[in-house]
């Protein structure tokens, strides 16, 4: 495919090929392209947006959402969905704040164990009872929320994070960037290697692409399904931990609807809701895009939080419509 070395190619043909490539790039990296545009607009329009501190704020507030979206990407590529992650995220935060009295290890381990167990049970039910992931994880959402309310006396008790290593982790910075951001970055790299370069990752794509074909090709369907829901649960728990460390307490009201934000980020990032295709790079771009939009609206200051949500929603719709349109263009161009 050497475009330059084809002087005989008709001009129109070359142009259409080039268009096709650009369209393909934009479509594949659509979220990234829109992110770049939004960043440029922000940099030009708002002085405060330009500061290094603000960049740090965006990254650290995106960290929990990024972790949840990381797990969600795996789940959605298998053709599933995980609605329980918002509740697990809050539950994880409450558990982390409570467990912080026993040290930093407990503050990470307890939420991971509990949320991982939630994921395991959901994965087992989905794989063996063959129930729809939507229903199973909706039940998980309710169960985890109930458990969280029970632990916090229906929101009456707020566990504060004990001063110590865990709280220091939440406040700690390296080169002006919070530890949590590094943790998320490392986990995304591990996630990419897992998704693109391991047999497990191949199975994830194969199941979402065609479960029947995957079965006939000898892919272990159940094992893969169980693992992605465990992974999603673990990451939601971890997201709860790092958020508790940052805020200094297990907040019970945040996190409602977090699962939908994560799904939105994944879809905006170009992953197909029907499964079989998607990238973690796209997910990062999707998460950052939503966070930057939020940040920009805050910069403006004149918009009430209710309208902020409306604007975010509109923006997501626009991005997805644009992607669909570009995908069609590409099909026309290549077919």
């Amino acid at each position: 495919m050497t475009l330059v070395a084809e002087p005989k190619l008709e001009k129109a043909e070359a142009a259409s090929l080039r268009t096709e490539r650009i369209v393909e790039l934009v479509q594949r990296q659509g979220a990234l392209a829109v992110l770049a545009i939004v960043l440029v607009v922000g940099l030009v329009a708002y002085d405060d947006f330009r500061s290094f501190d603000n960049a740090g704020t965006i990254l650290v507030s995106a960290a929990p959402a990024a972790l949840i979206a990381l797990g969600m990407t795996f789940v959605i590529i298998t053709g599933g969905i995980d609605l329980s992650v918002g509740s697990l995220y809050v539950l994880g935060g409450v558990l982390a704040a409570w467990a912080s009295q026993y040290g930093i290890a407990a503050a990470f381990a307890v939420p991971l164990a509990v949320c991982g167990l939630f994921g395991l049970v959901q994965g087992l039910v989905i794989a063996y009872a063959r129930l729809a992931p939507f229903i199973v994880t909706l039940a998980g959402l309710l169960g985890a929320r109930g458990l969280m309310l029970a632990l916090s006396d229906e929101g009456g008790t707020t566990y504060l994070v004990d001063p110590g290593a865990f709280k220091d982790f939440g406040k700690g910075e390296l080169l002006g960037v919070k530890y949590a951001v590094y943790l998320v970055a490392v986990l995304f790299v591990v996630g990419m290697v897992t998704l693109y370069r391991t047999r497990f990752g191949q199975s994830v794509y194969a199941i979402g692409g065609s479960e029947d074909a995957a079965r006939l090709m000898g892919v272990r369907i159940r094992g893969t399904q169980i693992r992605v829901y465990v992974l999603s649960g673990l990451l939601a728990g971890l997201a709860g931990s790092i958020n508790a460390a940052r805020l200094g307490s297990g907040v019970t009201v945040l996190g409602t609807g977090m699962e939908l934000d994560a799904i939105a980020a994944v879809v905006v990032g170009g992953t197909l809701l029907t499964g079989g295709a998607g990238t973690l790079g796209g997910t990062i771009a999707g998460v950052l895009l939503l966070q930057v939009i939020q940040n920009l609206i805050n910069q403006d200051g004149g918009v009430s939080s209710a309208w902020q949500t409306v604007i975010s929603g509109t923006f997501i719709a626009l991005v997805v419509v644009a992607q669909t349109y570009l995908a069609k263009l590409r099909r026309v161009a290549s077919g």
């Binding site: 370069r197 191949q202 794509y205 065609s210 074909a213 000898g218 079989g276």
Partner: protein, 508 residues
Amino acid sequence: MSASDAPLLEVVGVSKQFPGVRALDDVSFTLRAGEVHALVGENGAGKSTLIKVLTGVYQPDGGDLRHLGKPVTFNGPLDAQAAGISTIYQEVNLVPLMSVARNLFLGREPRNRFGLVDVARMNREAAEILAGYGITSDVRRPLGLMALGAQQMVALARAVMVDARVVVMDEPTSSLEPREVETLFGVIQRLHERGVGIIYVSHRLDELYRICDAVTILRDGKLVHTGLIKDLDRLQLVSHMLGRPMSDVRKAGFTSFGGEHSAAGGKPVLRCADLNSRHKLTGISFEVLPGEVVGLGGLLGAGRSETIKAVAGALPLDSGTVEVDGTTLRRPNPVAALKAGIAVQPEDRKAEGLALGLSIRENIALAVLPRLSTAGVVSERKIDKIVETFISRLRIKASGPHQRVGDLSGGNQQKVLLARLLATGPKVLLLDEPTRGIDVGAKAEVQALIDELAAEGLGVVLVSSDAEELVEGSDRVVVLRDGAVAGELRGDEVTTEHLMNVIATAAS
């Protein structure tokens, strides 16, 4: 081959029962090393079930499965694959969204020393392997962007790239171009020389006689013949498949069809000219006079159902015209065909024809609503009248017009479907397997009904796998083979014997 050589794969007395159907009944089958073994039979003969037993998808209810002489149990496709049995399914069973290379290597990707998939090596090896199959496209592109034949080649490459000892091919040529078929035969030849056993399912007799050593014929879940293919001529093979001993072929007494219809002559009510559809139909032409029943004969996969679909506007055509009563359909599609007067009874009445949850009245009314409504308002009285007429005319046995169609017997369901077709006031009736799955008595009634309808001046096109029904129900039979017209039987030639002769004779 010495006597001590155990067969690669052997099933002895295997049975498999499904609710209401005995899919396999005491079937034995032996595959030896280096043998290309044809597995043939009409639809529902049990070929697919046998394949699924051999490849671990189904577990047999009875009988033994032996691999290299030792009894084995396959609990799933993985077990069979571990034993060196690879399968190429009729529909391409790969993942279209994944790259060609990843499809080829799924589950056995080359890995580097860190245990990670070595993508560069995988792509390089995939390109090398596929070049041997005449595929030179970019292996990093999604499989779904390749042509169907190329996808089939990837599936083939995948099936044989590990040391497969048995390769099962289920109608591998159905979506291949002639050039690709040659490539496939080349691969089969190589496998044959390597001592791999091949089970080859196909309806194309030319192919079977060209590449197969042995043949096993199934019918209605039972083994009817097994042996070397050179000991069996085409006519014998077809007669085994259709279950009509040649000596036993008689003209009368098997079905309830009356004699021939005095075709009123005059202008054809249906005329198809040079219908072409890639991989499916080649230059199909025939015409039907009013009051005439024209049968479409041929084996499964010869293009009978495809022809029906093409006439009904449900199969996209590359070229060709369909003419009803002298008027050419401009843009063939199901709605235009229906408007022009073509009524179709699809092969699978449950999936494509009837709403089983609704009543007889509702099912019939569905078809006539467009004609009966005035400005969107439907006259209930008119519907009642039409429904009553059809119930008595077609002798539908039901407790009343409000009985659920799903509760009726198969024969009566078929009559409701016919009523629906007739209610649209058609000029041409296309019937695809009108008596499949209904009992003997109802069969006779449906057959008699078809006779009556033709006598009333309708043009009827009849497809039936039952050679007897086809021959006795039709005034003429157009015989199809490999998607093209292979011959036509008229007058005295309309016998099962002639039919088999035409089916069995090679086109060349």
